[in-house]
Symmetry: C2
Subunit: 449 residues, 2 copies
């Protein structure tokens, strides 16, 4: 009762922030910027202190870029907007009736409008137990851990004498044939074929077996058939085994199950799916099976007045009634639209307009000189699409310094085949190879001595 | 018995590697390179996969550089020497009689000559319990953790309403007034005065209280009195409180004790001392009180034939009978000397020569435009010494790419006062401020609501 009275007191006193934005991804940042530009008080809450340029995260995981090159402090981005306050905190609960959120530090914040832009997380489709064995790729820590595990598979293989165990360690499976899976497979193939080729004495990294496993009949579901065929052909040229129409039914320590077959593997990477942040449901909205909350054309959560959802949190339909994909450009456009709309509503009382998505094109890369780019009828693949991919991504990087650095690293890598960020930073769970197999090896060595 | 027989069997079979080098720091790398140049088989063992450019580690800790810019994969550095094998592993035991080492993976390696170049670690002079509260700075992980803790103190202070608690959080103490402590204090002062100045709404980062605590009567013990006075004056101009002649006698959660006085602090950084790696003692050598092993002028461990120690592991005397300091240039010169000497001995039977150290000068920086550089009678401080410091450090960076990147970052920082690597990557122990004080704050807020 005391807590409730306190909350009501706050509301009566009009202490609620006009807009609380949750998440500083592509969507949330745009909302905060537009409202900041209009001088409207905003509190932006994020669990991290940095905005992450997710489309290039796989390059951190494969040692091509450093984490700091694709992450920008949120405070720096929003520094010029004095009405925007940034809070490093996490939303634990939403009370849509009282219009109040509770944060992990115990703090409570009242709001007039709440914008949920908290993105998505790796989803294992009900197999949560796979998360430890097949890491996903959503955060900087994920990328660093994947990079360490990836580089450690080669280190472990170099130390092992048993040829069977060595070939197990040098088998890498990527689950999921969307853009992330395709880009990861291509990048890991180039890492092992070119960058690491001369660095080891006992193993030949260029013989690494790399598998890309996809449940659907073809790669790159969001692209044309032609792009999918191009990606497959280019990956196979890099030595990647592409297995489409293959459902993963088991992941165990050092073991991957595909349609009943059990394969010994050294590393499994999960790029197969994401689920929406649970905040949409927490705000009282109805969600689809991947957790996205249903929204009105204005991006307002259906049935929760004053609450908006955008980016990966929202199930927003396009003109054909299909849900929009979880792309950076969708999130960015929604953020821009809602930010401007809220500013006009708060300042001038104007009604919100429905959101209309305008695709700027879809792009992914397979490796050196091999990209796909599609926009409406325009469908490109190969060298020019690869350049277009690089130009778009450099352009979209938030800070000017990052653009220069990333361009420099790419140019360097292009010329030398080197990768600058080959750091293994140990974590307990990645330090040692699976103990059972290794102990067996030591016994063999001992007996032979 | 079985194990012993196995070992003897290996030795009889002549399977021992001519030279095993432990540690890929400045000393170990030079030994491996010189032997590799001569085509002599070498196994280089290191716990990390990268060589770390330690003199710039404080810049990673203060968000100025990325980890990958000062770390280079050992395999890449030694790639061109086919006789050099790199093992990612850790030495657990040395048997100088059997001339054999045991690694963390259980593997055993015989050697003809063993080179110990495993460096030093943070030492708390018998106060091991301080390590959790006052992190040191020796590894990439240390630097990342310190960076996160440093940036989090500002984030926590921004969230707190109680002015006393806020000023506690915004008090940072650096223990140790050697080059690392001075450089850390200067860099943290510049971070809070310039880089973060406009990023917060509730706190003023430029009001951060920064203390540099040193037990001796003055800073920079390895430098002249003049340099020490210059450093103190420049630090004070940056707003750093310099406390010389002050012994730390207590470190508790949020609390620092200096000569009986208890100060509330938000962050304590330990830059006060290092102790040698314990491998010198493990090899049977006699050690001094900081764990360094006594060596002959040839760098051979006294009383352990065939075992050599260099860099921070060795207690090596100069012409005046004083132990050489733990500097990169000492380690590098020793590595070069021993590598060439061992190559000449193994190939041509030549006797080892005594090592003579030639100082290339001592340098440290206090902040923008403020460095000290001393070599023999030449003693510089100020703008030119600051440039000399930067030029020397860029020159010494191992990879060409790193030189370009670090130069670029420094130039960028010089012009914009920005720092590129302001990443907080959460660890459980750094995520929340000390709970007791924070809970008190929440109660206060609750009562006021």
């Amino acid at each position: 009762m005391h807590g409730n009275a306190g909350r009501k007191g706050e509301e009566r006193a009009g202490s609620a922030t006009p807009v609380v934005v949750v998440g500083a991804g592509f969507a949330g940042l745009e909302v905060a910027k537009e409202l900041g530009r209009a001088g409207i008080p905003v509190v932006l809450v994020d669990r991290q202190n940095h905005h992450l340029f997710q489309p290039l995260l796989y390059q951190v995981a494969t040692a091509a870029l450093s984490a700091a090159e694709i992450a920008e402090p949120i405070r720096r981005i929003l520094r010029r907007y004095p009405s925007v306050e940034v809070l490093l905190d996490e939303v634990m609960a939403i009370d849509p009736q009282a219009r109040e959120i509770t944060l992990a530090t115990g703090r409570r914040l009242g709001y007039r409008f709440l914008v949920l832009a908290s993105g998505s997380r790796t989803s294992y489709f009900g197999h949560g137990e796979w998360s430890r064995l097949a890491p996903g790729l959503k955060t900087i820590e994920d990328a660093r851990q994947l990079r360490s595990r990836l580089l450690l598979t080669f280190e472990h293989a170099e130390r092992v004498d048993d040829p069977l165990e060595r070939s197990r360690l040098m088998t890498i499976a990527i689950i999921g044939g969307g853009p992330t899976g395709v880009e990861l497979a291509g990048s890991i193939a180039e890492l092992s074929r070119f960058t690491l080729a001369r660095d080891f004495r006992s193993i030949r990294p260029q013989n690494t077996r790399i598998m890309l496993v996809e449940g659907l009949p073809r790669l790159l579901a969001g692209f044309s058939d032609k792009a999918a065929r191009f990606a497959r052909e280019r990956l196979e040229r890099l030595g990647v085994e592409v297995r489409t129409g293959s459902m993963v039914d088991h992941i165990g320590p050092g073991e991957l199950g595909i349609a009943g077959e059990r394969l010994p593997v050294g590393l499994v990477v999960w790029a197969a799916g994401v689920g929406a942040s649970p905040l949409g449901a927490e705000a009282g909205g109805r969600t689809d099976k991947s957790g996205r909350v249903f929204v009105e054309p204005t991006l307002e959560v259906t049935g929760s007045p004053g609450v908006f959802a955008l980016g990966d949190v929202a199930r927003c339909l396009d003109a054909d009634g299909q849900p929009l994909p979880g792309l950076a450009q969708v999130a960015r456009q929604q953020g821009l639209h809602l930010g401007r709309g809220l500013a006009a509503m708060i300042k001038d009382g104007k009604a919100l307009q429905p959101f209309v998505y305008r695709s700027r094109g879809n792009t992914a890369i397979v490796g050196r000189h091999a990209g796909v780019f599609e926009r409406g009828r325009l469908k490109m693949s190969g060298w020019f699409a690869w350049l277009a991919w690089a130009a778009i991504h450099v352009y979209l990087l938030v800070g000017f310094q990052h653009r220069l650095l990333v361009s420099f690293h790419w140019l360097w890598r292009y010329i030398t085949y080197e990768r600058g960020a080959r750091l293994i930073t140990f974590r307990d769970d990645t330090r040692q190879p699976p103990p059972a197999r290794d102990a067996a090896n030591d016994r063999e060595r001992g007996a032979a001595g």
